[in-house]
Structures are given as C-alpha cells and as structure tokens.
C-alpha cells in the first residue's frame, strides 16, 4: 500500500522547486476503473494525485513527448526539470533513455514508488462489465479489494494482475530521487514461460498464429506512441523517401511494421507492456518483445534499463559473440 499523503507531499515539495517545470502522476479517471495521467504545475495540483493498483500507465513517455517549438531570436530554451511518478518498470525506461542519451539524468526528478503489481485493465473490465460509480481499488494482504458503490469484492491477486507483473524482477525503482515507502525486493523470476508454447510450435503453426494477429492490425501506431522508448524524431514508417513500409493496410506491410517495431526495441524494451495495453486490436505484442528479451539474455547476458552507464546492446560487441549461424 502506498501512502498517498506521502506521495502528495513529495509532489508538492518537487513542484515548489524553481527548477521544476511540472510533475506527472496519476489521478482518478473519468469513469469506471480508468486512471488518468495528470500534471501538477502548482503545489495545489498535487492534491489530486493518487496511486492505486489501477495505475498501469508508464509515465516515462512524457519527457520525450515535450513539444519543442523552434526558439525565437534571443529566446532561451526552457531547461527546467520534469518530475515523474514512476514504478519499477517505468524507472527502467528512464534508465534506458538516459543510457541512450535521449535524456540527461538532471533533466528529470524521479519520485519512485515500490510497486507490488498493477491490475490489467482488460481483465478487470471483463470481470466487472457494465455501468458503475464510486469505484475504489486497494491492495490488502495479497488481495485486491475492489469497492463498487459500497459493495466490497475481494479478489485474489493472480486473477487480475497484469501479465508484466507476474514475473517482474524489478518492482522497486532502480533510479529515483525520492522514494515513497520502503525498498522492496522481488522474489519472482522471469522464466519466459508464457512464450514457450509458441516457441515450440512448428514454423507453419507459428506463422498461422502471427498471420491472424498481424492481419488484424490497423496500423494506428499507438504501440509506438505509447512506448517510452520509441522517441525517434522521425519514425521509419513516416518516411516518404525512401518509403520502406507503405501506408496500405495489408498483411505484408503490417508484418513488416510489427517485426521492425519489435526489432527496433531489441535490447531496449524494458517490458512495461504499454504497447500491448494500448493496442486497440489486442495484438499480443509483448510476445514479440519478450522473445527478443529472452534471446538477448541467452546470447549476450544483457538486461536493459538497469545501468545507465552501460552501452546500448546493439552499439557494442564482444569478439566472442555467438556466431554459429554464420557460414
């Protein structure tokens, strides 16, 4: 359980600093189980900040989304910091961005929250469909306590926990300035069990599976826009000359897009699961990301988003990297 008062105090303290532009956190959403990112520009705004197991969004995407209009003559760039409320996985995204020099450490003030797992919005919506008001969700004794209109439901954690949390090895932020509550250690281990059945299938069956998934993609690129690590100024799919991937929506282009999106996150994806969460067509995108994560762990013993001083995976090498596939 996160002490919300402590969180709000930390936000207030941060936003009161002269060198902080705003703090991003969570607030209650407009309906049902929704939670919304929120921005504090003044200490007063901090009062709406919350943290509950519904806070699934990765807010590390916001520093990279900053609109930076061209400066007028004599205008100084705004170098104030951005405050962020982060969970374990979100903090790894920031570490990874810092490692790639997308951000500088001093650009952000990180308010870390030791996270004991968040709820998958799709699962909870399926469990409690329909209209509702006065929703409150808490975690107590390894159970989610969900109050709807005064009625209390106690549900075991496993049932609603987001997939990414089931094997989370870094529940506490790996990088922070202020920590709310105590450090926690994870007892879980990522064993990549969920992709194993698919890995074992024959090539034909694998393609059958992915063909059906990719066919459904509507190429809205929400997966890219919600990803904290997809921050290229110009994405390869938006290029017109050369236009590697056509704008037409068909199996060929959809496959190319989904493969390349996954590849561009090789050694960078920190497994926050935002791509899969925001996908309007429910594509199992994390199955692609996890596969790459597993491969690079096996081949290069590398984990992304842990050490900001390390070099990015695909920008370095060891002379004895595996090469049995080379003729």
């Amino acid at each position: 359980m996160v002490d919300e008062k402590q969180l709000r105090d930390a936000v207030k303290k941060t936003i009161s600093r002269d060198d902080v532009k705003y703090v991003v956190g969570y607030e209650k959403g407009t309906s049902g189980f929704l939670v919304s990112p929120t921005f504090a520009f003044t200490p007063g705004d901090a009062d709406k900040f919350i943290f509950s197991p519904l806070c699934v969004n990765n807010l590390a995407v916001y520093p990279m989304l900053e609109d930076k209009p061209p400066l007028r003559k004599g205008e100084e760039p705004d170098t104030r910091k951005i405050g962020l409320v982060v969970k374990g996985c979100d903090s790894r995204a920031i570490v990874q961005i810092i490692q790639e020099k997308g951000l500088k450490r001093e650009d952000v003030v990180i308010i870390g929250i030791p996270c004991t797992g968040v709820i998958d919005p799709k699962k909870i919506k399926e469990k409690f469909p329909g209209q509702m008001k006065n929703v409150d969700v808490k975690e107590e004794n390894e159970k989610f306590v969900i109050t709807i209109d005064g009625k209390i439901h106690k549900i075991s954690k496993d049932e609603l926990l987001a997939e990414k949390c089931k094997h989370c090895e870094y529940p506490a932020p790996v990088l922070y300035d202020i920590l709310i509550g105590k450090e926690i250690k994870s007892t879980k281990k990522e064993d990549y069990k969920e992709i194993e059945p698919l890995e074992k299938k024959s090539l034909e069956d694998k393609w059958d599976y992915w063909e059906k998934q990719f066919e459904r993609c509507i190429r809205c690129y929400a997966c890219r826009d919600a990803c904290p690590l997809c921050y290229c100024k110009e994405c390869m799919v938006d290029l017109l000359d050369p236009q590697w991937i056509r704008r037409s929506v068909n199996l060929s282009e959809n496959t190319a897009w989904n493969l390349l999106r996954a590849f561009h996150l090789a050694g960078r994806c920190i497994g926050c699961g935002e791509c899969e969460r925001v996908c309007p067509m429910d594509l199992p995108l994390m199955k692609l990301n996890k596969k790459i994560e597993k491969d690079i762990k096996e081949m290069y013993d590398y984990t992304s988003g842990i050490d900001a001083e390390e070099k990015p995976l695909l920008a370095m090498f060891k002379p004895d990297d595996p090469e049995e596939f080379i003729l």
């Binding site: 059958d208 599976y209 992915w210 090789a266 491969d295």
Partner: protein, 142 residues
C-alpha cells in the same frame, strides 16, 4: 510440366571483402548459381534489418549478408555489430514462422573466391528446397 523453382536471392556484400571475393570468384571463372543478385554496401554494418525485411517483401526468397572476417573490418567493428543484429533478427524471424535459412550471413574475405562460390551454392540449394517465400510478399494488388 512444372518449371523448376529458381530462387531469387539478394546479397548485401561488403565493399572491402565479400564483394571483392565475389569479384575474384568471377575472374577465377569459378562456377556458381546465378540466383544471387549482389548489392554492394560499404560495410556489413550498413545492413539495416529493414533492408532484409523489405527484400523479403518485394520478392526475394532469401537474403545473404556478406562481411569481412571478424577483426578484418575496414571500419574496425562494423561486422561485429552486424553479427549481433542479424543474430537477433534471425531468431525473431524464426519465432514468427519464417525459416531462418532464408536470412544468412557469411564471412568472405577478398581472397576467398572459392568460399564465396560454395556459400552461394549452399544458400541457393537451401532456399530451392524451402520453395518461394510466401509469408508476407507484397502483392501489389490495387
């Protein structure tokens, strides 16, 4: 009668080693299958995975990437970086159901004309066996 399938293979060959190796194979009059269409790149490290995926989309049945032997790269480290990239890409392709033999990588130096011919032979035969690439070919059906 059914025509024998002739695979289309795109070769991204590095300027300093593999391309020169291919040249040597030619000038030494070593016979090798004509299925490989060579594209010269300055370094195997120049080969973006997007090239490979795009080639497979546009009609290639296989892709061969040729670079210098480890340690011989003209740019010191290009082939090492390519090696990591292609290792990840090949596993990803296999995971989505595309035979990893369609994307191959080789080290051929400028003096290895014979090795180049052998590699092309092997790749061509492999892909002939696999048949045409049908997974996500661009259809151009307007």
């Amino acid at each position: 009668m059914k025509e024998k399938f002739e695979p289309n293979i795109i070769g991204f060959l590095c300027n300093w080693c593999s391309y020169a190796g291919a040249d040597l194979a030619g000038t030494s009059r070593i016979q090798y299958p004509p299925n490989l269409k060579a594209i010269r790149v300055m370094c195997s490290g120049r080969v973006n995975p997007i090239f490979v995926i795009n080639a497979l989309q546009q009609g290639a049945d296989g892709v061969l990437i040729g670079g210098c032997h480890p340690g011989d790269c003209h740019y010191e480290r290009g082939n090492y970086l390519a090696r990591r990239r292609m290792a990840v890409l090949k596993k990803l392709l296999e995971y989505t159901g595309i035979d990893p033999r369609r994307v191959r990588m080789t080290w051929v130096s400028a003096s290895e004309g014979k090795k180049f011919a052998e590699v092309v032979k092997e790749v061509t035969e492999d892909i002939r066996e696999l048949g045409p690439m049908q997974h996500f070919r661009r259809e151009n059906k307007w």
